[in-house]
């Protein structure tokens, strides 16, 4: 233990010595070969080998995002085994794992650079309103399965980690324009500067389109983000980020007086500061603070004949979060991470909660996880998170996982996990009443005595890495039990005259299934990625609270979900890629319609090079197999074509 720390000053001194050379006139000596090089890709930076992760993980890299031809982040997630994406309309998308969702997929956690973008108002993520340009994403890591032990409540069915690019990797100026179908105009401009010790990136973007034909669902998304990374010294680094997303989202129905066509105003911004301090090659302290602000302004005049009302659908959310973590390696065979988090969410919406007051949701978390390699080929992961919030009190989310390297490159893993979903503010405290000139219409009633939803997941996995063949196989067999499901139904007994939706814990669901992910890299620039999910889901969900009736939940999860991604580099400067998606019969909950579909996207890109300027012209064709819908039968995709031009100057 002591010896480990004694090494450090020697290493630091060596680095100082090396720095003493002058710039641009360096002596060419044997030191170039013999000099000490500090370990760069050490344990904290190298990706944790997939064979040692305690869960099934899918990684989508930048190249795959680009080659998929996706214009928006949710579309990329269709490449993850077991994922379904529903376009509620042109400005709202829902993303779920193993189905069982409505327009707000509440059971998945999403983080951008460690900042949770899960919206506590309705639950779920409002993808269009993220202050994030798709061009700035380095990779997306998807943990398929609950992970409350690491990320707390709502890391329920899966966790999506979006990691943005380091400004060091985006030095210079970058400009992209995409235009094409449904009146799409998207422009992204980025500039990154600074030196390697302090570098920054600023991105501004405008994205506008008319939405689906005959629908009032166009959008104008303006966003701006800034990131600065500073190495204070060899051990300390700071990352500072700012983001803004604003603009209008079209909503309503043309010629309707009850739900008139209108432009909803969105303003959201965030500030984030993260400090990291390297203790040693294996140890790290982290401290992070962020603030998130979200406002949706949507108040309008509604009338139906003589009845009229002011409908107030305004939404306000604000979050402050402070997190501390400490990674250490107390013994050669053990790694430990522990930490604590404090959060305060405030939500408001007079039309939803029947009060002008902000609702306050403070929470705190304590977590710890140990990775113990008790034999060279066995790894035990054990951990728990205790979370206390004002809605449901305190809960413990534990996980126990075991990885066994049968032979090098072939790993078996098994795990048991429990996680919780805290009822969203609306489920907890809704008191939605439409006040008309003819009286009040009560629509939704929250329930402050709700329990959290609970998931217990059992998993057996196999990871086969056959690098010589360029092949990686990941197989996962799972059983997921969701209990105390929070859902709403009418109460026609207590309030027969004005039966409103009331939230209760009354539902359960069990999913048994298998998932396969197959990656085959034939050569650099050429690969195939196949994803398949078989999910047999059954259970019941309350439909009407009183008298009690239930619905069968089998419809809500497709039995088969497949995707295939192919990319190939032709010659030096041309890339072609295909993405195929197939989803079996299923339905998103109200207002979704039963659907099943096949879809094919394709892309051809030609790289451009002149001097220090690099660029690309790409042609994208989406939905090439013809019309389909993935959420609502009126929201139909037809063939769409786009042209993208990007330029990068260093």
């Amino acid at each position: 233990m002591v010896g480990r720390f004694l090494l450090l000053p020697a290493l630091a001194a060596g680095m100082l010595g090396a720095a003493a050379y002058g710039e641009d006139s360096l002596p060419l000596t044997e030191d170039l070969f013999l000099g000490d090089i500090p370990q760069v890709l050490g344990a904290t930076r190298l990706r944790q080998p997939l064979s040692e992760t305690p869960a099934a993980v899918t990684i989508i890299d930048r190249q795959m995002i680009r080659a998929s031809g996706a214009l928006d982040i949710p579309d990329v997630l269709r490449l993850v085994p077991g994922f379904q994406v529903g376009h509620v309309n042109g400005a709202q998308t829902t993303v779920t794992y193993h189905g069982f969702s409505d327009a707000y997929a509440r059971r998945m956690q999403v983080l951008v650079d460690g900042r949770s973008v899960y919206n506590p108002f309705f639950g779920g993520v409002i993808w269009t309103d993220l202050a994030l340009a798709i061009d700035d994403i380095e990779r997306i890591e998807v943990i398929r399965g609950p992970n409350g032990v690491t990320y707390g409540a709502n890391s329920f069915s899966a966790v999506i980690n979006i990691i943005t690019r380091d400004p060091a990797d985006t030095q210079g100026a970058y400009l992209r324009y995409t235009g094409g179908a449904i009146g799409t105009h998207a422009t992204v401009a980025r500039y990154s500067g600074g030196d390697t010790d302090s570098r920054y990136r600023g991105t501004v973007s405008y994205r506008g389109d008319d939405g689906f034909p005959n629908e009032e669902d166009g959008k104008q998304v303006r966003l701006a983000t800034f990131r600065q990374d500073t190495h204070l010294n060899r051990r300390d680094s700071l990352t500072f980020q700012l983001g803004y997303n604003g603009g209008t989202r079209d909503d309503g129905t043309s010629q309707s007086t009850t739900d008139p066509a209108r432009k909803v105003q969105i303003v959201t911004n965030f500030q984030q500061l993260a400090w990291k301090h390297e203790l040693s090659a294996e140890g790290e302290l982290g401290l992070q603070f962020y603030h998130d602000y979200y406002r949706r302004a949507d108040t309008f005049w509604s009338s139906a004949g003589p009845v009229h009302a002011i409908i107030d659908l305004d939404v306000f959310v604000e979050r402050y979060d402070l997190e501390f973590s400490h990674t250490l390696k107390p013994q050669a065979d053990t790694r430990v991470v522990w930490g604590a988090e404090l959060r305060r969410d405030q939500v408001g919406g007079p039309g939803w909660f029947g009060t002008d007051q902000m609702l306050d949701y403070p929470l705190y978390r304590l977590f710890g996880n140990t990775e113990w390699r008790f034999r060279p080929d066995w790894i035990l992961n054990a951990g728990a998170m205790y979370e206390h919030n004002d809605v449901t009190g305190g809960d413990v989310s534990p996980r126990l996982a075991l990885n066994y390297h049968v032979v090098p490159g072939q790993t078996l893993r098994t795990s048991v996990t429990r996680a919780y979903r805290t009822p969203a503010a609306f489920e907890d405290r809704a008191d939605a009443i439409i006040h008309t000139n003819f009286g009040d219409d009560h629509t939704h009633q929250g329930n402050p005595s709700l329990k959290p939803e609970r998931i217990t997941a059992y998993e057996v996995g196999y990871l086969g890495e056959f690098p010589k063949l360029g092949t990686v196989v990941d197989l996962k067999l799972f059983k997921e039990e969701i209990r105390d499901i929070v859902t709403s139904g009418n109460d026609k007994v207590t309030t027969p005259a004005d039966a409103f939706e009331r939230y209760v814990n009354d539902g359960e669901s069990t999913t048994n299934g298998a998932e396969l992910q197959l990656t085959y890299r034939m050569a650099p620039g050429t690969r195939a990625v196949f994803a398949y999910s078989y999910a047999h889901q059954y259970g019941r969900l309350v439909k009407q609270v009183a008298p009690t009736t239930y619905m069968d939940t089998r419809e809500l999860t497709p039995i088969h979900t497949r995707s295939l991604f192919l990319e190939h580099r032709l010659l030096r400067n041309t890339e072609v890629s295909l993405a195929y998606y197939q989803v079996d019969h299923f339905t998103f909950m109200s207002p979704g319609d039963p659907t099943e579909y096949k879809s094919l996207d394709m892309r051809v890109a030609q790289k451009l090079r002149f001097g220090n300027t690099r660029g690309e012209i790409a042609f994208v064709g989406q939905h090439m197999l013809g019309d389909y819908f993935d959420f609502d039968r009126l929201i139909v995709f037809d063939k769409r074509f786009f042209l993208t031009l990007s330029l990068e100057v260093r």
């Binding site: 641009d24 044997e30 070969f33 380095e138 060091a168 690098p467 360029g470």
Partner: protein, 316 residues
């Protein structure tokens, strides 16, 4: 002109006399390391071990660290050959224009050639100085790329002021191996990362060359991180690179350089002043960082296998 010829004749006859008297008086070999210990000591140790193994007692090794080296020793002891170990020793001893041939070891090729060309100054005595470089022939490095990463055809190389003249040689060596090299030349440190990124965008592997502007202990950190972010493997210059995060490297250990020196010393012609031309090291080692390979989703043969395959190739 005539004077030089006479001088040379005088020298040769002096050597002839010296070699005739070999049995009577062992030839003295000076070994001058730049520094004590470390790699320098390993070279010297290997030379000594080699000579002892062959019972080559007609040679007397005199180890004279550069720090305490006296110019007068050259005239008092009249060495038959001076072996320098390290660039600084090569440079400073050459500057003394010693009356003996020099064999420079443990230094980069560009530095060695420059010292051989002009290190003795204006009134250079005419000796066949030579060197055993520390760098590997480019063909050997490219062969390693081909053997270890057969699907990686496009090789990125960054050159700078010290290495820019090697571009043509690199290109033709790559062509012979059905590889394509894409070269960026930098003249300032600022250009390194932008040009590196442009290169990494279009290539499959980064091959490092001994260019101090690009591969300096201050920059390696950034270069490695950048290659890693681009998921492009890097071929390093030494074991240190591989430990730090390069995928693989072929390099010569000090012991291997020393072994080659001792073999050269076993040749009486060398002691007679007739040194082979400056050469790349004959013996080499392959190192692989399998953790990096796994992290980049690459399969790379074991170090032993690659070493065996590389040794089996004819030198080109």
């Amino acid at each position: 002109m005539a004077r030089i010829r006479i001088l040379r004749w005088l020298l040769y006859s002096w050597f002839a006399m010296a070699s005739a008297g070999v049995l009577a008086a062992p030839a003295k070999i000076f070994i001058v390391p730049s520094r004590d210990g470390g790699a320098y000591a390993e070279v010297i140790q290997a030379i000594q071990t080699g000579l002892e193994a062959r019972h080559q007692t007609e040679l007397t090794l005199k180890i004279l660290p550069l720090e305490t080296f006296q110019g007068t020793d050259l005239y008092v002891h009249r060495p038959a050959l001076i072996v320098t170990v390290g660039a600084e020793a090569a440079q400073r001893i050459a500057h003394l224009n010693p009356p003996a041939p020099m064999l420079h070891t443990l230094l980069p090729r560009e530095t060695a050639l420059e010292i051989i060309r002009s290190g003795r100054g204006k009134n250079a005595l005419s000796y066949h100085d030579s060197a055993i470089f520390l760098d590997q022939p480019i063909g050997r490095q490219l062969d390693l790329v081909r053997l270890a990463l057969p699907t990686h055809k496009r090789v990125a190389i960054i050159l700078g002021p010290a290495t820019r003249n090697e571009a043509a040689e690199l290109r033709s060596a790559a062509r012979e191996r059905s590889l394509v090299v894409n070269i960026a030349i930098i003249s300032q440190r600022d250009e390194l990362l932008p040009k590196l990124e442009t290169l990494l965008d279009d290539n499959d592997v980064l091959l490092s060359v001994p260019e101090p502007l690009a591969y300096h202990s201050e920059t390696i950190h950034h270069v490695l991180l950048t290659t890693y972010r681009y998921k492009i493997p890097m071929i390093g210059l030494s074991k240190g690179y591989v430990d730090a995060g390069a995928l693989l490297a072929v390099y010569s250990q000090p012991e291997q350089i020393g072994r080659q020196v001792s073999q050269w010393l076993g040749n009486p012609a060398v002691i007679g002043g007739n040194l082979p031309p400056p050469s790349f090291p004959q013996y080499f080692t392959v190192s692989v960082n399998q953790r990096v390979a796994a992290s980049l989703d690459l399969y790379v043969d074991s170090e032993q296998t690659l070493q065996r395959k590389l040794e089996a190739l004819p030198a080109r």
